[in-house]
Structure formats: structure tokens, C-alpha cells
Symmetry: C2
Subunit: 236 residues, 2 copies
């Protein structure tokens, strides 16, 4: 039952159980799958109209902005089951660009579909509201534990977040999981340089807190890492 094949449905069912007709309504958002190659943009910051959202059906993507000095800031990583661009609902043009990290399937849908849900199902409305709020809770946790902390805590917190978010749609996630991000990506996400990410990760490895080889992350003891970076799992 909760083992639905759609990650979006699994994401929602991890919050609350759904009836058949609610699942129907949700699946409507995933009706137009588009395939994206690695490094392909879904849309670009500043461009409009931003009258569509998207569901990440399969793969990995990230939201980013390029600065005049050539640096890039990644503001979010999108996983299967995530709604992309939900926060841009009130805007006329896109706040951030979105790019696939590897071959991915993404389904665009018009704002209208969301408005329809607001009309048709107070329960799904509540759940969408929760999903949107949860994104904000996560953002705030980043400001609390990532932006205003030392480098080792930042990296550790980021890994805990990725684990927690992946676990929501993959309840049986092992302590060894795939994270197809280069150190460059991680650096752009955490606001540091890739050189320093490298040094920080090797330091964390020496302390046996986490390991990384290419895209495989290993966290020997999740509980220890969580305590290290004051990560509160109940908020993800």
C-alpha cells in the first residue's frame, strides 16, 4: 500500500495515508514525463513566466544561481519525490535555475493543477502546505547548523540531511548510500571551496565520522554523526 511506485506518492504517504481519489489527484501531476540529460537545465533563473512546477520522478537535480564573479551557489538538491519550484508559486519569473545532475525524469505541471487541488481536496491542500513548510524548516536548519557553523559541522550536517531526505522515500536506506555530487557541488552548496571540502572530509574520515569515495557515502554510525552536528531527525 505505502509501497507505491511513484516517489511523489510515497513522499506524501510518509506524512499521512491517502485514499484512492487523492492518489489519483497526485498522479495527475506526474503525467508528462520529460527526460533530462546530465547538465541539462529545466529552467533558468530570471526567466519567466514561472507558471509551472515540476515533480522529480527519477534521478537527481539541483537548484542554483551563478554569480557575476563566476561562482555558483547551489541552494537545493532535488531527489525523487520532491516538488521542484514549489516556493516560486508566488513569483513571475524563476528565482533559481534548475539542472539535472545525471539522466533524470522530471514531470512539469501547471500552477493550475495545484490550484485545482486547493479547490478539490482540503486534505491534500493541508499536505501540500506541510510539504512546502517542511522545505522551509529544512532551510532554517541549514542556516542554524550549516551556514553559521565551522566547516566540519557543515559537511556533517549536510550528509545527515541528505540521508534523512533519501530515507523518507527509501525507508530501508543502508548506512552506505549513493550521492552523485562532486566535491565541487558540495562546496557550492555549503558556501566553501572544493579544496576545503576535500580537507574537511578527510578530517571527518580520520575521526571515523563519515567516508566518501566518489559518489558513495558511508556513515559508520548515524547516531554519532547526528550528535556531532546537532541534527534533529524529527524535522525532516
Amino acid at each position: 500500500m505505502s509501497k507505491h511506485h511513484s516517489c511523489l506518492v510515497r513522499q506524501f504517504e510518509s506524512h499521512e495515508n491517502l485514499e484512492e481519489d487523492e492518489i489519483e489527484l497526485l498522479l495527475r501531476l506526474e503525467r508528462s514525463p520529460e527526460r533530462f540529460e546530465a547538465e541539462q537545465d529545466l529552467w533558468r533563473a530570471g526567466e519567466g513566466p514561472a507558471d509551472e512546477l515540476a515533480v522529480m520522478s527519477k534521478g537527481w537535480a539541483y537548484g542554483y544561481v551563478d554569480h557575476p564573479d563566476g561562482k555558483r551557489t547551489i541552494n537545493d538538491i532535488y531527489l525523487p519525490g520532491d516538488v521542484i519550484g514549489l516556493h516560486e508559486y508566488p513569483l513571475d519569473s524563476h528565482q533559481t535555475s534548475v539542472r539535472a545532475l545525471k539522466e533524470s525524469t522530471i514531470c512539469r505541471f501547471p500552477h493550475k493543477h495545484l490550484d485545482d487541488i486547493f479547490e478539490l481536496s482540503p486534505k491534500l491542500t493541508r499536505m501540500f502546505f506541510k510539504v512546502a513548510c517542511l522545505q522551509q524548516v529544512i532551510l532554517i536548519n541549514r542556516t542554524l547548523h550549516t551556514y553559521h557553523q565551522a566547516a566540519d559541522h557543515r559537511v556533517a550536517h549536510f550528509m545527515c540531511e541528505m540521508y534523512a531526505r533519501l530515507a523518507r522515500t527509501n525507508p530501508d536506506l543502508a548506512n552506505k548510500f549513493n550521492l552523485p555530487l562532486t566535491q565541487e557541488h558540495i562546496a557550492s552548496t555549503l558556501g566553501m571551496t572544493s579544496v576545503h571540502v576535500s580537507r574537511t572530509i578527510s578530517q571527518l574520515s580520520q575521526e571515523n565520522l563519515m567516508f566518501r569515495q566518489r559518489d558513495i557515502i558511508t556513515i559508520p554510525d548515524l547516531e554519532v554523526l547526528r550528535r556531532f552536528t546537532a541534527f534533529d531527525i524529527s524535522q525532516y
Copy 2:
């Protein structure tokens, strides 16, 4: 018409015009005014149940978290017309503490009232959704232009944000406005030390970008400051 006495209503009307019955529904959220003295907490992080939201009717408040090492992070400043704790809607306990900055009037209301709005008015639902999303847009702009930038840009961007948010309910805001925050508060908000805030502000003053004396901020040319820190007014 748009000159309603309630800041919350003005906030909503700045997005879209409201009918009488919608205003009624909104005003229901402001029915239990409570007075808070400076430095008084509305609620504390970690405490629960978080089954109430609040409307900032009058005054100033801030959301914060205290870290084990004694440092404090301020994650948001609340202005009249703001909904406090909206993002905590999916949580069981409060993510952050909220404290009045000076004598303030704040109205608590139960989650239930929000759920009722979802049932009764798709239009208000859409608008609440927009308000919640806009908070997220603002958070993301902070990560883009505040957290990952040099100190002078951070302070400048923060001032632009405060101006823009105040202007939403005070359309005639002058280039000289009240900001009852100490440099210590600003430092906790931007993740820097009060010493460095002091140095940065005096640097910005020398460059004629902004001035501060106690709680009076003066921005000689808003447009110049905006360009300096790549502030996009259309997103506030």
C-alpha cells in the same frame, strides 16, 4: 480600501484584493491580542505542542536559537502583519524560539483556524500558500546573497530586505526608517560578530551606501544599495 487598520489584512491585500467575507476570515486570526514586553518569549525552541501560530499585530519580534557554546542565531525578524510560526505547521514542537524585541502585540491562533480557511476559501488558501512560499523565497535569497557573500554585501542586503518588507505594509516608507536592532542582533542574524558589524557599517557609511545611528537607518539612495548587493525587489 487597502488602508485597513490591520497589518495582516494590508499584507494580504498587497498581494490581491479581498472581499468582505475573506477579510472577516482573516480577522478571526487576530481575535486574541496578547501584550508582550521587550525580551519576553512567545515560545521556546524544542517545546511543544506547536499547535498554534501567531499574528504579529504590533511591534517587533525575532526567531532565534541558542547554541550550546552560548552563541545565538537569529533566523528571522518579525514585523507587523507577519504570520509567526507558519513554517512550523508540520512540526510537533517548535523549531525556533520567538522573542519580542520591544513592547508588542501578538495574537495566537490554533492550527485549526488555518485548516478552516483551507476548507472555506480556496482563494485565501492560495494566498496563504503564497505568503508561506514568499518566506521561503526570502530565505533562499539570504542564502544566495547573504550567507555566501562578503560582510559588506551581507549587511547591505539585510538592510534592503528590511526596507522591502517594511514597505509592503507601509507603502510610503521614507529612506530613513526605524530598525530597533542592536549591532549584536544584526550580527546574530548575519552570522558574524558585533565587532565586525560595527566595522562593516562604518565602511558602508564611508562609501555613502547607508548610515545607522541607534535604531535609525538612513539609505541615501536605495537604488544604489540594491545594485551593490544584487537585491531583487520583485521577490519581496
